[in-house]
Amino acid sequence: MQQSAFENDAPIVALTEVVKHFGAVRALDGVDLEIRPGECLGLVGHNGAGKSTLVNVVNGGVSPTAGTVAFPASGAPEALSAGVRSVFQELSLCPNLTVAENLRISHSGLRGPGWRRPARAEIRQSLDAVFPGHGIDANATVDTLSIAERQMVEIAIGFAPRGTEARLVILDEPTSSLDAGIAEQLLRHIRHFCESGGAVIFISHMLGEVFDVASRILVMKDGKVVADRTVGGFTRQGLVDAMGHVATDERQDPRGKAHAFGKEVVHTSQGLSARRGEVVGLSGLAGHGQARALARLYLDATSSWRPTGKPRMVFVAGDRTRDGILPLWSILRNASISILSETAKWGLVDRDAETSAAAEWKRRIGIRTEDVTNPVLSLSGGNQQKVLFARALASAAPVVVMDDPMRGVDVGTKQDVYAIIRAEAANGRTFLWYSTETEEVCRCDRVFVFRNGEISAELTGADITEERILEASFEMQEA
């Protein structure tokens, strides 16, 4: 493989016996790791396995409880000067600044009057290199960009030279908000970057991508490295097994069983409709109005003024920090906010009902925490997402709206959530589900494909295939 050219070089980063505790939680439990130039390390494991902590140790964001972190290749004392860069799954750009100004935040070499000009040139160059034909203006304010464009900017900042040179770029779920074409550009750039002597840590729950781009795969489980082999040493099934999940690929397909759905419960002027007990998918290229359609549907169906005892609709956010998590609160309070008025007596919170609902959903959906009164931010990203699912599903609302809710969620949890969704649908709940992953959309009973903010196709039954969805996503653009 391509890393052979640099095989004998000193490692860019070397971890020995690294241990990290957060209180009683052993996030890392004795990890040894060396990354050499030219390597693309795929890092996989389910939520809370310690992936994020590992990369934070590598990039200097947290210091280990025990063990050492060294940068032999550069001899630098710390991660920043050793050329370690991170692109996080939680979007971390400043929304009120422009693209170029955001580069400046992590590039202290840009100073003095007129620094914006070189900043613009550098970010433009980096964007062009990673995402040719990106169409992002370096002067655009970040909050005017779509979530996919923000992710692209963040990746470009990660690869930008920023005064020195990027030697090791850490990408945490970089493709979760990108559509297939853009993701492919990124993978191509990663291969090119590694061929020229850089190294990448690539974290993804999409195993196909990991196999596609990584030269070596590291599997983590409960804070330990359970497997570390070159990519040829793994099969897809072997990888899933190593992560510690039972193979669940059978896809007990409920479609074709000629479901008898109830009466129509959702109907919008745009043409979106859903019947009782139905799982309706929204698909198409990212940013073509699906999220907006769902948000409008939800906001129209609920009120900012009138409190409702029993909500008609609940919302599962995909953009956790913007739309979902209440950061100062415990897991319990985050999970219970939507059911308070259902159980309240005399306007007071029924705390027993709240506690038992949270305990039940912690069990059903497998939130990894010892105590639901821990702060919600103590959870990993995927587990925070589970809290948002619990919040919505714990309520009695007949319609559940989901805005790309599986971002950053591991394979095992996805399977669990799919099963819960199916079970709830069989009990008469209706789901409207926007997803950027076609494989998920194909699980739905009916699919609306969006293009330029309009519905371009409605697919049912055997018509729900990847080809048909792609066709409907692009069709009119050709003309």
């Binding site: 948000a295 939800y298 906001l299 609920t302 009120s303 900012s304 003024w305 009138r306 409190p307 409702t308 909500p311 609940v314 919302f315 956010a317 913007r322 739309d323 979902g324 998590i325 209440l326 950061p327 100062l328 609160w329 309070r333 906010i337 939507s338 308070l340 008025s341 309240a344 306007g347 007071l348 919170v349 919040r391 309520s395």
Partner: protein
């Protein structure tokens, strides 16, 4: 112990206790009772307006009510005018005051909601109107409160000033509303992330409106009590309570960034704000020195309380 130290409200109470001790140390303990009584009386007004301000500040950055002084003046003026020093009109006056509070709160929120004005601008602009109405209806008259009401406002039960008891009851009501009621959860959720709260089914505009109406209702009650306490309404009677209402909220450990409030801390801070001035007075500090030291002490306490919370 760790648990107690990490409570954000402990700092305002420690500060109040320390200033109390330092003041009475100077007089070797004599007059401690009178000082405590005065602190409870005057602190009560700051605590009442502070409780209301706390609810609004909890809504998050940019949310603050600057119309408190004008609402206090207007409610005191109109209530005393309605009572006209006649006996047995205390309830009528209270009703007028509460109506003033509800009306001004609704007007404030109407400006914020319908015209999308920032709350600072909306409440400040509206307060000019309220102050003008107060001037126009007052016309330099100084109407005395009915004797019974004046006796109540300056009286005591079991040695505790009546106004402090009113403040205590209101504090308990606010505490229950915040910590135990669904509305309180909604308020705290809205203050952390308005959009996330809305998407979780919280009626955020109703919550905001109720917070803005509550703050002016509390200010109106404080104005009514203060006018009765001091023997009549004056056009500048609310003046001190603008910064005071914000200071007691911040010193009391409520997060200025929203989503986290603290009821006991407001009372501790209200006592402290009175005690620190009397401490500096009894040490003979001049007006200028007094203000500088007051400012420095407030900054010190806010830093102490916030670093404790951050390191937790």
């Amino acid at each position: 112990m760790q648990q107690v130290i990490s409570r954000p409200w402990i700092w305002s109470w420690l500060a109040a206790a320390a200033t109390f001790a330092m003041t009475t140390a100077l007089t070797e303990g004599s007059g401690a009772g009178a000082l405590a009584y005065a602190a409870l009386s005057f602190g009560a007004f700051a605590a009442i307006v502070g409780l209301g301000q706390m609810l609004v500040i909890t809504l998050g950055p940019g949310n603050v009510d600057l119309s408190i002084p004008a609402v206090m003046t207007l409610s005191g003026t109109l209530a005393l005018k309605a009572m006209g020093s006649e006996p047995d009109t205390a309830m009528l006056g209270l009703g007028v005051a509460i109506l003033v509070g509800l009306g001004t709160g609704a007007a404030n929120f109407a400006l914020i909601y319908a015209l999308r004005l920032p709350p600072i601008v909306a409440t400040l602009a509206a307060s000019l109107v309220y102050q003008s109405i107060a001037i126009w209806s007052n016309r330099g008259l100084r109407i005395k409160p009915p004797a019974g009401l004046a006796d109540f406002a300056t009286g005591r039960i079991f040695g505790v000033p009546n106004v402090a008891l009113v403040g205590l009851v209101l504090a308990i009501v606010v505490w229950v509303a915040l910590e135990r009621s669904v509305w309180g959860r909604w308020l705290l959720a809205s203050g952390q992330n308005m959009r996330a709260a809305r998407l979780a089914g919280v009626p955020v505009e109703m919550v905001r409106a109720s917070a803005y109406v509550t703050v002016t209702a509390f200010a109106a009650v404080a104005g009514y009590l203060l006018a009765s306490f001091s023997g009549g309404a004056a056009l500048n009677m609310g003046q001190d309570y603008l910064l005071m209402s914000i200071a007691v909220v911040v010193i009391g450990g409520t997060s200025i960034a929203g989503g986290f409030s603290n009821v006991p801390g407001v009372w501790g801070a209200a006592l402290f704000m009175f005690l620190v001035v009397s401490m500096l007075n009894s040490y003979g500090a001049g007006a200028g020195v007094r203000m500088i030291l007051t400012g420095l002490i407030i900054i010190g306490i806010v830093i102490a309380a916030s670093t404790r919370r951050a390191s937790k």
